[in-house]
């Protein structure tokens, strides 16, 4: 049976940093998966975001759905300069929000979709969030950057692991 799911890189921040970036991503896989455990920032109101190949042009769009235990709501954004994964304000300084991110066919010559599920249970807001993002760019993906909106540093202790998935 061939190996189809491999760790590519992992980062745990020892100190707050502007971003976590996985660069020079191998082209040996079919899909990418990223697991992020994100701690709340000092100011606490930033979205946790993602950027592909360093592209900050307004070619990202998203549709999201969230539940807070009382209401389920959905929102949408277009022409964004980044993919929106989840509101970072959900996490806390002691219990991280967990995001499970899937990027399909990252080497393909079509636009790329990003699926993200984020659980922030046991944190200050207790919410669940699901989003789908589109990156309107047909380039193969060779780098992924995770960062906070508002140029606020990601908190120390935040971890991110990148995996590659092969079809065979």
């Amino acid at each position: 049976m061939p190996v189809t799911y491999e760790p590519i890189a992992t980062t745990t921040l020892g100190a707050a940093a502007a971003n976590i970036t996985f660069s020079s991503i191998s082209s040996a896989y079919t899909d990418l998966k990223i697991i992020v455990a994100n701690y709340k920032t000092a100011s606490g109101t930033q979205d946790i975001c993602l950027r592909l190949n360093g592209d900050s042009s307004t070619v990202y769009s998203f549709t999201a759905m969230r539940g807070d235990g009382t209401l389920a709501t959905s929102n949408r954004g277009t022409a964004y300069p980044r993919a929106m994964l989840a509101p970072g304000s959900w996490s806390s300084t002691t219990v991280p929000a967990t995001s499970i991110i899937d990027i399909f066919n990252y080497l393909g010559s079509t636009n790329k979709t990003i699926l993200c599920k984020t659980a922030a249970e046991g944190t200050e807001a207790n919410q669940i969030h699901v989003s789908v993002n589109l990156w309107r760019n047909t380039s193969a993906i060779n780098s992924v950057a995770i960062f906070n909106s508002g140029s606020v540093n990601i908190s120390a202790g935040t971890t991110a692991t990148l995996y590659g998935i092969k079809k065979a």
Binding site: I8, A72, S74, E121
Partner: protein
């Protein structure tokens, strides 16, 4: 590059059972993934199952969930309780014959001495009038490393229900 998505154990039921347990889970992985395809004997279109790490029966479980049924979406929350973290909906005896639910449970950092997030995603789609899809963020508010998983059925899992446990390493 090492392989990381490693099969640990499975259980496909030959007879109905009220629960399934994976015990003696090694601590050599970073995350756990449990993939389930169950059906229940409960007299309804769907049922719900619950997961208890280490069979802990304390009031250490909370979860927040979103559920959609094709026409509306709602969100509900279970405050601290001893029932376990809700996994999601899956097909029961009134659902279309031979349909089983599809559920995935992701538990990051299960071997760490910290409280554990449990993320679940699943559906009881069966081409029937009442079907539900849910996403849940759960918290196992206990800092003990997880070495076993108890999955309790809504009533009884039917024969043929299957459960697969995998370990994921980040190195």
């Amino acid at each position: 590059m090492p392989a990381t998505y490693t099969f640990i154990a499975s259980n496909t039921l030959s007879t109905s059972a009220a629960s399934v347990t994976f015990s003696s889970i090694p601590s050599t992985y970073t995350d756990l993934v449990l993939r389930m395809s169950p059906r229940d004997t409960q007299g309804a279109t769907d049922s719900q199952c619950f997961i208890k790490p280490n069979s802990n029966s304390g009031t250490v479980y909370t979860d927040t969930r979103m559920t959609g049924n094709g026409s509306t979406a709602i969100s509900t929350r279970n405050a601290s309780n001893a029932n376990g973290n809700v996994v999601g909906f899956y097909s029961a005896s009134s659902a279309t014959a031979n349909t089983f639910g599809s559920l995935e449970v992701y538990i990051p950092n299960y071997a760490e001495a910290a409280v554990k997030q449990i993320v679940t995603f699943g559906t009881a789609e069966s081409n029937a009038a009442e079907v539900r899809l849910s996403v849940t963020g759960g918290l196992f508010n206990n800092t003990t490393a997880i070495s076993s998983l108890l999955i309790n059925a809504g009533n009884n899992f039917v024969a043929g229900s299957s459960f697969f446990l995998y370990g994921i390493k980040n190195t």
